[in-house]
């Protein structure tokens, strides 16, 4: 039996032993295992469940709701705690189709799993919401909402494309604002259905048609007035989102009210809270702009007048100055001034030299007048010191016939014992040196 066969045998033995001796769980243990399994699959993930409300009894004394969601094949217990159900916007009823979201949990004491709810919507709206979220996620992942691809709106659009219904408050509001702010702007309306079947297709086609460069448009406004989520739904369709994304011209979305957000808003280059707001952000305010330009023009003119006055003043000063009136006189005056300064310099230098000379003569005189009693003791002390120095001077000893003998190493030889036969020695005389070799030594 090789090593692998032995390992297989061991594994088989362990499995047989396990089958013969199965693990026994307590109820708590098995419940805990199930809970762990449930948690590992869903964790704290929020799940959406579609179903029919069943066994609904409203809020209990504590304000919590307990009911079931069911469909043809299954049922699940639901708990909607007071803190969460306070925000409930629909009036739940027995048998009502709903879309509920929450997290899955296992209630140990009751031995059943349940959905802890945090939100419940009525079925139709709930489904639209799910479609909205799914499309939003998809388009976002494709980069349709990316901030870096948003284009700036033109500052002075001359021609604006408008995609909306030709009747109703929206087109009226937009015309009203544009005429009030910048009446010179031309509007090209592409009337479309803004809700119901085929509306999304019409909106997308209108955006595409207005992008025709021969129309000479600068920017597009796409929108409609407020309504329910179903009413606004065309602006949540992928077809419209892609048409906005593909638009050559910048697009301003103006759908519903400030609180309504559609997919079109996310894709558009700018989102306006209302159609009127769309017009405001698209066209400049003519009066404000004109005021600003007039202010610049006034400043330019004032600056020019100021500078002209300043220049005139300077010119007048120059004209009336003596230099310009009698330039020869001015040059003569300057020449005289230079002569005067030169003379002052020469005088100052001479005065300085004469002063130095005088000070030197005074010092010389002072030295000559010093009393003899002051000089004599100092003179004899100096002569004594000079005599002592002369006695101590080695040269004066050498001059009397003495000499100094030094070894090769430069040491003074004071005894015959300091040298040996054959050593080289140097003898220093009063005048010059002699190099000698020792041929004989004697201490006597």
């Amino acid at each position: 039996m090789d090593l692998f066969e032995y390992a297989e045998k061991m594994k088989g033995d362990a499995e047989r032993a396990k089958a013969e001796d199965p693990a026994i769980f307590t109820v708590s243990e098995i419940t805990s295992e199930i809970k762990a399994l449930l948690t590992s699959r869903f964790g704290s993930e929020r799940v959406w469940v579609k179903g029919e409300v069943s066994n609904y009894k409203g809020r209990n004394q504590s304000g919590h709701m307990y009911f079931r969601l069911k469909d043809a094949g299954a049922v699940i217990n639901c708990v909607f705690f007071r803190g969460s159900n306070a925000k409930l916007k629909v009036d739940l009823k027995e048998g009502m189709e709903v879309l509920a979201s929450g997290r899955l949990d296992l209630w140990d004491k009751g031995g059943n799993y349940q959905l802890i709810l945090d939100e419940v919507r009525s079925g139709g709206v709930g489904e639209l919401h799910l479609r909205f979220e799914a499309l939003k996620k998809k388009l976002e992942s494709e980069g349709l909402f990316a901030a870096e691809r948003k284009r700036a709106l033109p500052h002075f659009p001359a021609k604006i494309g408008l995609v909306t219904s030709s009747t109703g408050a929206v087109v009226r509001d937009i015309i009203h604002v544009i005429r009030g702010r910048c009446p010179g702007v031309e509007v090209l309306l592409f009337p479309v259905k803004v809700q119901g079947d085929g509306s999304a297709r019409e909106i997308a086609q209108a955006i595409e048609a207005l992008n025709d460069p021969t129309l000479g448009l600068d920017v597009l406004i796409v929108g409609r007035g407020g309504g329910s989520i179903e009413d606004l739904w065309a602006f949540n369709e992928e077809e419209v989102a892609r048409a906005i994304f593909s638009s050559r011209l910048p697009v301003v979305s103006a759908v519903g009210h400030q609180t309504d957000f559609t997919i079109a808003d996310f894709v558009a280059d700018a989102r306006a809270a209302t159609p009127s707001h769309a017009a405001e952000i698209t066209v400049p305010n003519q009066m404000e702009l004109n005021q600003k330009v007039r202010m610049w023009m006034r400043a330019i003119l004032q600056d020019l007048i100021h500078y002209r006055d300043l220049s005139s003043e300077r010119l007048e000063r120059l004209r009336s100055s003596q230099g310009l009136q009698d330039p020869k006189h001015r040059i003569q005056a300057r020449t005289q001034e230079v002569d005067h300064l030169t003379q002052r310099l020469i005088t100052a230098l001479e005065e300085k030299r004469s002063d130095r000379k005088e000070r030197f003569a005074r010092a010389e005189l002072l030295l000559g007048r010093l009393p003899a009693r002051f000089l004599f003791p100092r003179k004899s002390r100096f002569e004594r010191a000079a005599s002592n120095l002369s006695i101590l001077n080695p040269l004066s000893i050498l001059s009397r016939g003495y000499s100094v003998v030094k070894s090769k190493a430069g040491r003074v030889v004071k005894s015959a014992g300091d040298v040996s036969v054959g050593d080289s020695i140097r003898v220093t005389l009063f005048e010059g040196e002699i190099a000698c070799d020792v041929t004989k030594t004697s201490k006597d």
């Binding site: 033109p154 500052h155 002075f156 659009p157 001359a158 021609k159 030709s166 009747t167 087109v171 009226r172 015309i175 009203h176 544009i178 005429r179 009446p183 010179g184 702007v185 031309e186 509007v187 090209l188 309306l189 592409f190 009337p191 209108a206 048609a209 129309l215 000479g216 600068d218 003519q286 702009l289 004109n290 330009v293 610049w296 023009m297 400043a299 330019i300 003119l301 600056d303 020019l304 500078y307 002209r308 220049s311």
Partner: protein, 78 residues
């Protein structure tokens, strides 16, 4: 140059001259030339910006495709 850029160019031109004339060292001849140019731009700006009246056309489907025709916006009681 597109039309919106045309008006923007006029406005930016005047703004630029306004800023330049405040710089130190600009001499009189430059100031006069700047003011003359600003006056030209301002004239063009007013002509372009104020001469036109609001107009609106609407698309209509025709057998040949799409046609744009005058839209009676006054009928909307704006």
């Amino acid at each position: 140059m597109r039309r919106d850029e045309d008006i923007e160019g006029l406005v930016r031109g005047i703004e630029g001259i306004h800023a330049a004339l405040h710089e130190e060292g600009t001499d009189l001849s430059d100031r006069v030339a700047g003011a003359e140019r600003a006056a030209e731009l301002y004239h063009a700006f007013r002509e372009r910006f104020f001469s036109k009246e609001f107009s609106m056309r609407a698309a209509r489907k025709t057998p040949e495709g799409i046609a744009f025709e005058e839209f009676d916006w006054k009928a909307l009681d704006v």
